[in-house]
Amino acid sequence: MSALPGRRAAATRLIAAVAALGVCAGLAWSSARADTATRAETSLVRLTPEQYERSIHDIFGADIRIPANKVDPGSRNDGLLAIGDRKLTLSAAALERDDVVAQAIAAQVADPRRRATLLGCQPRSEQAADDACARGFVARVGLPLFRRPLSTEEIQAYVTTQHQAAEQLHSFSAGIAAAVAQMLVAPDFLFRVERGAADAAQPGTLQLDGYSRAARLSFFLWNTTPDSELLQAARSGKLMTDAGLQHEVDRLLDSPRLESGLRAFFTDMLAFSGLDEDPGFDTLAIDAGFYPNFTLSAQNEAQEQTLRTIADLLLHKNGDYRDLFTTRDTFLTPALAALYGVPLARSQELGGAVPWVPYHFSDGEPYIGILTEVSFLSLHSHEGRTSPTRRGKALREIFLCQKVPPPPGNVDFSLVQNTSDPRYKTVRQRLTAHRNEPMCAGCHKIMDPIGLSFENFDTAGEFRTTENGAPIDASGELGGKSFDGVQQLAQLIRDDPATTSCLLDRAYSYGTERKPTAQEQTWLVRLQAELTRDGVRWRDLMRRITLNPDFYTIPMSAAPLSAAAAH
C-alpha cells in the first residue's frame, strides 16, 4: 500500500478500506477457529442508522456531526425491521457510504481541539506517529465501539495503520484519523457480532456471552452501545449472574435513556420508516393539491407527535399500553393543530425550535388515541385519497399481529380508484362494489370493515363528515362485534387480547431480533395473562423480558453466521 504525499484524503481512505477488508478476513478466520472450540460468533445484526449515530455520540461526544448514513432501506420481517436487520447484507453502496461517513467522523475525532479530551495522552510530535499514545487510545475507544475488548493483535493492527498514515502524511492527527476511520468500517462496529456458547442444558441453543448480553440489553433498552458500567459488568462476569443481571437491568430501566429505546421500538413497530407497501415517513407523499394543510412541518412532526404520546403515557405516566388507543392526551405543534382543527397558542419565536404543547382532546372532539393521529391516518392512505383497505390492513398487521395476504396480481382496481363515478360517491360504496368480485372479497372482508371506520378522517387526518357530498357511514365490525365510529373501534382494540399479545410478541422479537421459539411463546402467553390482569406497563414488560434467561439465547438453527454479511 502506498500513498502519494499531499493526497491525504485519498490515502486515508485507501488505508481504511484495505484495513477493513483485512478485518473482515480476520473475522471470518476467527469465526472458523472459534467454532472448533465450541464458542462461536453466532450472528451478525446490522446497526440501524439511529444506533450508529447514538453510538458515535456516546463514545466521541454529542457534538460530532454525522453525515446522513441511511443507504439501505432495511428489510421488514414479521412486522419488524429489527428482525430483517439480522438478514441484512452490506451492499457496495452502503459500504461506500459507511466509508465516507467514517472519514468525516474520524476527522472530527482527530481534530486537535477535540483530541485533547479524547486522546488521553500528549503526542511526542504533531508531525509523526506515536504508537504508545495511539495504542492506549485504540484500546480505550475500541471497547465501546466493538462492544468487547480488542485483542492484542487487533490493537496492533490499528496502531500500525496509525503509524503508516502519520509517517506518510507527516501528521499525528492524520494517523489517529486513519485508525478511527478503519475501526468505523470494521464489521465489529457496523454489526453487532453476537457470540455464544453451546448450552448443555438446552441442546441446540447458544447462550450469549457477557459482552453480547450487554450489547443486546443496551440496544434493546437504550438503542445505543453499552456504557462503561455495563461493559464492566460484562467483563467481571456479573452479567452472567442473576443478581448482576437484575442490577444492571434495573439501572438501565431507571435511566432517562429508556425513552430512546422505547422510541426506537415503536418507530419500528409502527412502520414509521422503511419501504413497505405503505411508505414510511422518509418517502411519504401526500398530494398538496388535495391536502394543502398537510404541510411539510406537519409531515415531519406527525411521527414525533405519536412518539411523544407513547412516551408520555408509557414512561412519564407509567400508563397501560392499551390506553394508547383511547387516550385523549397528546402533544401538538401549530402545524399539527391546524390539521386537527383545534386552537393552539403559539410561543415560537421566528426561527426557534418547534414548540410542542400538551393537548387534551375533549369528549366532543372526534380524535381519540394513536389510531386517529395524523401519523397512522396519513401513512396508510393513498396520495390523493383515503384507503380503508390500507388502514384496515395496517391496524390488523401492526397492532394485532395478524397477517393479511397481498392482493392477487390480476386484480382490477379501477372501480375503487375512480372517485368521480357518480354511482359511488363514498369509498364505502366503491369498496362494496369491488368486493362483489369473488377474488377480492375474502381479504377485503377482514380489512375494510375496520378501515371504513376511519373515513371521517381524510388522507391528511383532517376531520370530515361527507365525501363527495354524501354523508360518511363510519360503522363497522371487528371480530364479530359491531361498532359505530372510530371511538367505539378504539375501545374494542383496547380491550382485544390480541392487542396485548401483539405488543409482547413484537417487543420480544425486537429485543432478540428473531421470532420467539415455542418455549418462549409459552412464556409470553403466561406473561400476557399476568399483564392483562396487572396492567401492560412498559418498564414492567421490559424488566420481565430482560430477566428471562431465554432472552439471551439464540436457537442454533435461527441465525447462522452470514458469510455475505461478514463481507
Binding site: A288, L296, G341, R346, D363, G364, A474, S475
Partner: protein, 385 residues
C-alpha cells in the same frame, strides 16, 4: 331557528361525536352569539385594467420610465436603450434630484425634480370600471362604476397607478408585481393581520360586529405556499391595531358601517395601512374563506412611502411622478388650508379561517370551514374595545 340550523349542521357528526357533545353544541349555539376568526392571507391594491384607460400608451415599467428620463436629458431612444441594457441599477436614477446644488434621492426629496405629469387613468362615469366605494356620498365627476355593485365609486388611487405596467391586472387575478413580491416576503416575517366577525347567527343575514387586529404571530403557510387554514393566532393587545365596525351580512356578503381603520405591518409595503371612511365588501365563500374589497380615504403620503421605500426598479413606478399625481388627485380629508391629505383607494383582501386567541390563550374567534366549526367549539362574541 338558530338551534334548528345548528342541529342540521351537526347531524352528520352526530354518529361520531355522540349525544352529549351535540347537546353541548346546541347549548353553546343557543347562547346567541358566535365569532369566526380569520387570518388575512392577501392584501393588494385593487386593479381593474381595461383597454382605453391610458390613451397615451401608459407609463410603462421602470425601464420605460428611465428611458424617458434619459431622453429628457437629450439622449436618443437608441442611445437610452443601449445605456440601460444591463446597467439600469448602475446609472443611479434614484439620485437624479437636485437640491441646493446637490444630487439627492427622489425617494426622499420627490420635489427635487419637476412634475413630469405621468399618465393617469382617463374616463369617468358609467362604463368606466374600477373597484371602490362611494366615499363622497354622491356621484362626483371622477367617479368610476364598480364592476360588482355597479354603483358609482371613488378611487383616485387607481387613476394614479392604473397606467403603470405593474398594475395591468384585474383583481382578483394576481396582485401588482411589486406588491405581490412584498406580501409574499412579508408573510414569513410580518405579524399576521386578523379579522373577526361576531353575531347572533353568521349562517344567514343579520347584524354583526367586525374587528381587525394585529397578531403576535406570523402567518403559517400551507403546502401550496398560501396561508394555512385553521391555524391559531394570538391578538397583539396594542389597542392601536384594533379597529371595530358595526357590520351586516346579507346574501353571504359582509359590509360595514364606515369608520376608521388602522393596522401596522412589518413590511416594505403596507408598513402602515390606515383608512378613514372605511368601507368593506367581503364575500363569505362556501369553503369558509373571505374575499373582497376594503377601501376608504388613505393618507396619500402613506402609499407614496410604500413605493418610495422600494425604489423604482422594485416598485416599477415613477416615484416623483406618483408623488405629484397623488397630491394632485387627492380627494379627501382636507387640511386647514383646504389641501386634501387623503386619496380614495381600494384594496383587494382575502382571508382564511383561523382561530383567534387573546393573550391569555382563550379562543375569542373560532375557525369555520364549510360552515362547520373545525373542532366543534363555538366561541363567544367579541365586543368592540
Amino acid at each position: 331557528m338558530r338551534i334548528a340550523r345548528s342541529m342540521a349542521r351537526g347531524a352528520a357528526a352526530l354518529r361520531l361525536i355522540g349525544l352529549p357533545a351535540l347537546a353541548l353544541w346546541i347549548l353553546s349555539s343557543a347562547a346567541g352569539a358566535e365569532t369566526r376568526g380569520y387570518a388575512i392571507s392577501m392584501v393588494h391594491t385593487a386593479t381593474y385594467a381595461e383597454q382605453g384607460n391610458c390613451p397615451n400608451g401608459g407609463n410603462g415599467s421602470s425601464t420605460e420610465i428611465h428611458e424617458k428620463i434619459l431622453m429628457d436629458e437629450g439622449y436618443s431612444r437608441a442611445q437610452a436603450v443601449k445605456m440601460l441594457t444591463g446597467n439600469e441599477r448602475l446609472l443611479d436614477f434614484d439620485t437624479r434630484g437636485h437640491l441646493y446644488g446637490q444630487r439627492v434621492d427622489v425617494g426622499v426629496f420627490p420635489t427635487s425634480v419637476p412634475d413630469d405629469h405621468i399618465e393617469t387613468v382617463q374616463g369617468a362615469g358609467p362604463g368606466h370600471y374600477m373597484y371602490g366605494f362611494n366615499l363622497a356620498g354622491k356621484v362626483t365627476p371622477d367617479s368610476f362604476e364598480d364592476p360588482e355593485t355597479h354603483q358609482m365609486v371613488q378611487n383616485q388611487m387607481w387613476r394614479v397607478l392604473g397606467c403603470f405596467t405593474a398594475y395591468q391586472y384585474q383583481s382578483p387575478s394576481i396582485p401588482p408585481y411589486n406588491e405581490g413580491i412584498a406580501w409574499d416576503t412579508a408573510m414569513d416575517s410580518m405579524p399576521a393581520w386578523l379579522l373577526s366577525i361576531s353575531g347572533a347567527d353568521l349562517s344567514g343575514d343579520g347584524d354583526v360586529t367586525v374587528t381587525f387586529d394585529r397578531s403576535l404571530d406570523i402567518l403559517i403557510r400551507d403546502r401550496r405556499g398560501g396561508v394555512l387554514t385553521g391555524s391559531s393566532y394570538t391578538i397583539d393587545p396594542d389597542p392601536r391595531n384594533h379597529s371595530a365596525f358595526k357590520g351586516h351580512i346579507k346574501d353571504q356578503v359582509l359590509t360595514i358601517e364606515p369608520g376608521n381603520f388602522f393596522m401596522q405591518g412589518e413590511s416594505q409595503f403596507y408598513a402602515l395601512l390606515r383608512l378613514t371612511q372605511t368601507h368593506l365588501r367581503l364575500k363569505l365563500n362556501a369553503n369558509g374563506s373571505l374575499s373582497g374589497i376594503i377601501g376608504g380615504y388613505q393618507p396619500w403620503l402613506d402609499y407614496w412611502e410604500y413605493v418610495a421605500i422600494r425604489g423604482e426598479e422594485d416598485s416599477e413606478v415613477d416615484i416623483p411622478g406618483v408623488y405629484y399625481a397623488l397630491k394632485r388627485l387627492a380627494d379627501g380629508v382636507p387640511d386647514a388650508s383646504g389641501h386634501n391629505t387623503a386619496i380614495s383607494a381600494a384594496y383587494y383582501l382575502e382571508a382564511v379561517p383561523a382561530y383567534v386567541l387573546n393573550r391569555f390563550g382563550k379562543v375569542v374567534g373560532g375557525a369555520y370551514v364549510n360552515g362547520r366549526p373545525l373542532n366543534g367549539v363555538v366561541a363567544g362574541e367579541v365586543t368592540a374595545r
